[in-house]
Symmetry: none
Subunit: 222 residues, 2 copies
DNA sequence: ACTCTCCCTCAAGGTTTCGTCAAGCCCGCG
DNA sequence: CGCGGGCTTGACGAAACCTTGAGGGAGAGT
C-alpha cells in the first residue's frame, strides 16, 4: 500500500474572491487544493477526486451546502468544514447531525481557517486497524519511507516519485513527468527520466514504480 | 529531540479575582496567559489560539468544565489542569477518563498551581520515555539551549533557527527563509542564508540543521 | 525466429549547489 | 571619533547531483 501525505482539499464557494483567498492560504500550507463553485459540482468532484477535507459554503447555487453535504455523506466520510454568513445557521450545523465536522462564521480570519483545517486533519479518521504502508511519501518533509525504512532521495528523484505517487495506478506520461519536474519549457531527452527512475528504483526497491511501455510510468496501486 | 518553548496558557474561570490572581502568577513565570470567563468561549479560544495548557474551572456559566473539556478534546490534546471547589468532583476528574491531566482543589496556593503547571509542561506528551531535549528554542526569551548548554545567537541566527524549529522535520525552502527573516521584499542572494546557517551550526553543533539540497533546510526531527 | 523499438544499465564529464573563509560595510556605543 | 560586533558580499573548493552517451536486453509485432 502507498500513502500520499499531502492532503487534498476541496473548497466550495460561489464567490471567487473568497475562493481564491482560501485557496491561497491552504496551498501555502502545502496542501493540494481544488475549487468548485456550486453544490452539484461539489458532489461530483468529491465522487471522483475523493478529497480528504471539504470546505463547504452553506449558500450555493443549484443545491445549498446542507443538501450537498447530505448527498456527499452517502458515499464519503471526508472531513467537512462548513462556512456560513448567518449566525442562526450555526444551530443547524452543530445541533442537528448534518454531518459536518466543524464550522466557521463569516467573516473569518484566514489564520483561523488554517488552524481549524489543521485540527481536523490531525484527527484520526481511519478507525483502529492501521495498515502500515509499504511506501510513504511526505511532500512537506520531502521524506520517503519504503518498507518501513527511511530513504534519502535527491531532489529530482523525489519530484518524480511525488508526481506519480499523487495518484497511484494512474499512468503518467514521460512528457508530463518532464514538465512536472523540469518545468514547462525544458528541452531535452525523455531518456533523462529513465535514468532518474532507475536511480529511484535502486533506492526504494523494485515493485513500486511500474513501466508502461511506450507511455510512461505509474505507481503500483496494489 | 527538539523543544519549542513558547508556552501559551489559557485560564478559564468566571470569578475575576481568581482569574487575575492566577494570571499574575503564571505571567510571572514568563508564560503567555489568556483568560476567558465561560465554557463556550473557552472552546472557541482553544480552537483558534491553540494554547499549550488550559487551567479549567469546573463550575462555569453556559457549559460546565466537563462539557467544555469534552468538546476541546475532539480537536486538541493540550494539557488540562482542572480546578474544582468540591472534593466530590475529584472522582469524576480522576476516575472517569474525562481527559484532564491534573486537578487542584480550591482553595489552592498559587505556588502549588505554578508547580503543577510546570510539571505538566515538562511532561513529554509523546509516550512515556522522557527524553531530555537536545535543543530547546524559546521564542519569548529568544534563547537557545543545545545539548544542555545555553547558546548565544545573533538576531539573524535566531530568526533562522526559529523559522525551521517551528515545525521540526518540515523542509523550509530558502526563499521562505529569506522572507521569514529578512521580510517579503528583500532582494539579495540565497547565499546569505548559507552563511548564517553555517554560523548557526558552528554555535549549536552539527546534527540539528539538515540541508535539503536544491530546496532548503529543515530541523532534524529524530 | 527475427527485427525494431523501447527501456535499462553503467560510467564519465560537466554543472550546480553548498560550505568555508576572509574582507568590507554598517551601526550602535563608548 | 574610534571601536567592535554583526551583517553582507564575494571568491574558491569540494561535494553532490544532473546530464549525456553508448551498449545491451527485453517486449511486441510480423
Amino acid at each position: 500500500m502507498v500513502s500520499w501525505m499531502s492532503h487534498r482539499i476541496l473548497v466550495v464557494d460561489d464567490e471567487s474572491p473568497i475562493l481564491n483567498l482560501v485557496r491561497g492560504y491552504l496551498e501555502h500550507e502545502g496542501w493540494t487544493v481544488s475549487t468548485v463553485g456550486d453544490g452539484l459540482a461539489a458532489v461530483e468532484h468529491v465522487r471522483v477526486e475523493r478529497p480528504d477535507l471539504i470546505v463547504l459554503d452553506v449558500m450555493l447555487p443549484e443545491i445549498d451546502g446542507f443538501e450537498a453535504l447530505r448527498r456527499i455523506r452517502t458515499f464519503s466520510d471526508a472531513y467537512v468544514l462548513m462556512l456560513t454568513a448567518r449566525a442562526d445557521e450555526v444551530d443547524r450545523i452543530v445541533g442537528l447531525s448534518v454531518g459536518a465536522d466543524d464550522y466557521l462564521v463569516k467573516p473569518f480570519s484566514p489564520r483561523e481557517l488554517v488552524a481549524r483545517v489543521k485540527a481536523l486533519l490531525r484527527r484520526p479518521r481511519t478507525a483502529a486497524g492501521a495498515p502500515t504502508c509499504d511506501l510513504v511519501v511526505d511532500p512537506a518533509r520531502r521524506s520517503v519511507t519504503a518498507h518501513g525504512a527511511a530513504v534519502v532521495l535527491t531532489a529530482t528523484e523525489f519530484d518524480i516519485l511525488a508526481a506519480i505517487a499523487r495518484d497511484p495506478g494512474i499512468v503518467v506520461p514521460r512528457g508530463d513527468l518532464l514538465e512536472a519536474v523540469w518545468g514547462p519549457e525544458f528541452v531535452g531527452d525523455d531518456h533523462l527520466v529513465d535514468v532518474h527512475v532507475a536511480n529511484l528504483r535502486a533506492k526504494i526497491g523494485d515493485g513500486f514504480v511500474e513501466t508502461v511501455r511506450g507511455i510512461g510510468y505509474r505507481l503500483a496501486s496494489g
